[in-house]
């Protein structure tokens, strides 16, 4: 019995962390998010591709490493920790998972190996299957898609998109098609891309098995939710570390503010809230591959619980920094906002807890 990360997983995570520490510095994140050095984001993405983040989940027969979701979770945690300004969850976790479970043999051959070779990059728009806001939604008939998909992840530099209708059918579309319009959505989190996609008689290819059952799309969403939980886990840890360091250094009334119980108890609460989240995220990722009966329940609870804990941590960590925490200067807000997005994307806590309940009825 061993509950924890393998040496390979820790080693890979360390590499991602080191890379981000060097290249995704606060200054660079500021450049990227303010839009004045766009190529920096591409460079960082390329650097991570060089480490191999695109092939983790792709089966070996399609040139990937065929690893467990836990491997992707530790990468996602590192990206959250470094506020990594790069696509990951949609192209390298959700898309491969969806294609693996919903694609015919031919579709798997067509798409999966090209993810490994970096010829194909997928954005993913499944929001309407999870919870349709206002008049958003996509319909499929005569091999074409019409309608709007909101909060499509990582669509900007994608070659293809995976879009879903309300029934959970998944479609592959050409991201560069003239029948598709990509509208940038400006959220508070500028370290990642969110878009709206409008389809007008857009040619689409149905992933064959996605019309048989909703299992494939749920698999992809569960994987995505575990990644978002891991991202918030990493982001929260960074915020705690920064708050603790600051509280040890900053002096008021002649002593380090961290020696005041009002401050140190906030730090202890943050640590106590976050520590069990590691095990929950690892466990959920493990169940995704090895314990199908519990997989959905664990993914939903990981997403909801880590979102709740992270929300509190994000607030407290800013408060420990006092006025400085509120400034743009320290850049603490990048993690605050990333946690804010992770909470709502692919189902807010209330929505996913309801899904968690439904798995038990």
């Amino acid at each position: 019995m061993y509950f924890g990360l393998s040496e390979e997983q820790s080693f890979f995570q360390d590499n991602v962390k080191k890379y981000l520490e060097e290249h995704a510095t606060i200054d660079n994140i500021k450049h990227i998010t303010s839009g004045d050095k766009k190529n920096l984001s591409t460079e960082i993405h390329q650097g991570l591709l060089n480490l191999g983040i695109n092939g983790l989940l792709i089966p070996e027969e399609f040139g990937g490493l065929g690893l467990d979701l836990l491997f992707a979770a530790v990468v996602s945690e590192a990206l959250g920790g470094g506020a990594g300004p790069t696509p990951f969850i949609a192209p390298y976790v959700m898309a491969p998972t969806a294609i693996k479970h919903a694609g015919s043999k031919t579709q798997q051959e067509n798409y999966l190996s090209k993810i490994t070779s970096n010829e194909n990059r997928f954005g993913v728009g499944f929001s309407e299957f999870i919870g349709k806001r206002n008049d958003a939604g996509i319909t499929f008939s005569d091999n074409t898609l019409n309608g709007r998909a909101m909060f499509v992840l990582d669509a900007n530099d994608a070659t293809h998109l995976l879009l879903a209708d309300e029934k959970g059918q998944i479609f592959v579309v050409d991201a560069k098609s003239a029948d598709l319009e990509i509208v940038k959505l400006t959220t508070v989190d500028k370290t990642r891309q969110y878009t709206e996609v409008i389809c007008k008689n857009l040619e689409a290819e149905l992933l064959e098995h996605s019309s048989d059952s909703i299992n494939p799309i749920n698999q992809a969403i569960d994987a995505g939710r575990i990644m978002l939980a891991a991202d918030s886990l990493g982001a929260s840890q960074t915020m705690i570390d920064k708050a603790v360091d600051y509280a040890k250094e900053r002096k008021q009334f002649g002593r380090a503010i961290g020696s005041f119980q009002a401050v140190k108890h906030m730090c202890a609460e943050m640590a106590a809230d976050l520590e069990p989240c590691y095990a929950l995220v690892w466990h959920a990722a493990h169940c995704h591959d090895h314990s199908p009966d519990e997989a959905r329940l664990m993914a939903c609870h990981a997403k909801a619980h880590v979102s709740e804990m992270s929300k509190g941590i994000a607030k407290k960590a800013i408060e420990v920094h006092g006025g400085m925490g509120f400034t743009d200067l320290l850049g603490l807000h990048y993690w605050f906002k990333r946690i804010g997005l992770n909470r709502q994307i692919l189902g807010s806590p209330e929505l996913v807890r309801e899904e968690a309940y439904k798995t038990q009825v």
Binding site: M1, G4, G258, S259, F260, E269, Y278, L280, H283, E354
Partner: protein, 407 residues
């Protein structure tokens, strides 16, 4: 990640399962006299509490790693087997071994720091349930600041003479013995002046007054010592080393107050209750707000269960850094259990306030009782605020509060 226990353990599970079947419905002839163990149902086999302790030890289901010469099973410590035993006993509702402060805290302390004579004299009868212990730590003026305790011990000839008062002493009224922190070196700095003494509770000069708590049960006592005389040899460790001896056992207590598996059992029980009980003709579980609150708690408990697996794994596979992970257990475990019991009261509304033997009481009134009882556990064994100090200072390396002169 590998959550399988392996084939050896599957066989062991079956073995324990059939043992439990054999003793299904066990009840105790002396059950009412012993507050420390769970009692069984009517109709099954009967034996005395002590006989049951011995049966469990013989089979290796209790005191597994305690050497035979001291009354234990004399096997290797096996964390997974301990877990399997606990799980199978709980599943089949077979009464487990007795707990209590003697077994949970004194025995490990004696094994680590006791003299050969002490081990011979105390461990066996304690394991057999024939010698019950209480813990004499807290005093009216030494709660969170335990090391400021003032109960005095003076060595006169070959006897300790003890004077003072202890409080929050669970089970003192049933106990034969007390392991007690006493100030024996009044001139030494406060942590260095304490000794760990073993006091027979039938010594003359001991007075026990039950202390009724908010649950209306007398779970605690005040214990008064007036010129109580015990042999000089009834000391664990050396004079002035009592603080270190006590800390070894306090660490043990903090981990075991609110195991997440037990909390999850209560979550499941609450879910069952919410399917049975109705509000405006609709089961409580069908009310979205109550349901969401239940799911929130379920998520928290799942996180703690996963966390417990991580800590278990760290015991089996040394090298993982779980120092912080262990420190948070007492705080998070007791707070969560209290929150869960409180949720059950909320979903029942007015019905949730019923207590004792009221009509319409649900689940024997356990929700209210445990809701209050856990407030005691949140405060006892190091309050939540003290836990946060420990997490911040020892776990996160944050600076201590400046010392106040003379404290």
């Amino acid at each position: 990640m590998d959550l399988e226990y392996g084939p050896e353990y599957q066989d062991f599970s079956k073995e324990v399962e059939s043992f439990c079947k054999k003793y299904k419905g066990l009840s105790f002839k002396d059950g009412s006299n012993n507050p420390l163990g769970s009692s069984g149902g009517p109709g099954g086999p009967q034996m005395s509490r002590s006989e049951w302790q011995k049966t469990l030890i013989e089979n290796g289901y209790f005191a597994r790693s305690v050497p035979k010469e001291y009354g234990g099973y004399g096997g290797e410590a096996d964390i997974l087997k301990s877990r399997i035993i606990a799980a199978e006993f709980s599943k089949s509702n077979t009464p487990g071994a007795m707990g209590g402060q003697g077994i949970d805290m004194l025995v490990p302390t004696l094994l680590e720091m006791g003299t050969e004579e002490q081990k011979q004299a105390y461990i066996k009868p304690t394991l057999h349930g024939e010698m019950i212990w209480c813990q004499g730590y807290s005093e009216p003026n030494a709660g969170s600041d335990l090391a400021s305790l003032q109960t005095k011990g003076e060595l006169v000839g070959d006897e300790w003479v003890i004077n003072g008062q202890k409080i929050w002493t669970s089970t003192a009224q049933y106990s034969q013995m007390c392991f007690c922190l006493v100030r024996t070196e009044p001139d030494a700095p406060k942590h260095a002046g304490i000794s760990y003494l073993l006091i027979p509770m039938d010594s003359s000069g001991i007075e026990i007054r039950p202390l009724v708590d908010m649950t209306l049960k007398a779970g605690f006592n005040e214990v008064f010592f007036t010129d109580v005389k015990i042999p000089a040899g009834n000391i664990v460790g050396k004079r002035g080393e009592g603080w270190a001896v006590a800390n070894a056992t306090l660490g043990h207590e903090r981990g075991s107050l609110a195991p997440p598996d037990a909390t999850m059992n209560r979550v499941n029980m609450l879910m069952h209750l919410m399917k049975e009980e109705t509000l405006d003709g609709k089961p409580l579980i069908e009310h979205p707000i109550y349901r969401d609150r239940l799911m929130q708690i379920q998520g928290k408990v799942l996180a703690q269960q996963s966390h417990a697996l991580r800590l278990l794994s760290a015991k089996l596979n040394p090298g993982a850094d779980v120092k912080l992970g262990k420190m948070i257990q007492k705080l998070t475990g007791t707070e969560l259990r209290h929150e869960l019991e409180g949720l059950a009261i909320d979903v029942m509304g007015e019905i949730g306030t019923l207590y004792e033997d009221s009509p319409h009481l649900k689940n024997d009134g356990t929700w209210q009782f445990i809701y209050m009882y856990f407030l005691g556990l949140i405060i006892g064994g190091g309050t939540s605020q003290i836990q946060k100090n420990i997490i911040a200072e020892r776990g996160l390396g944050m600076p201590k509060e400046p010392k106040v002169e003379g404290a």
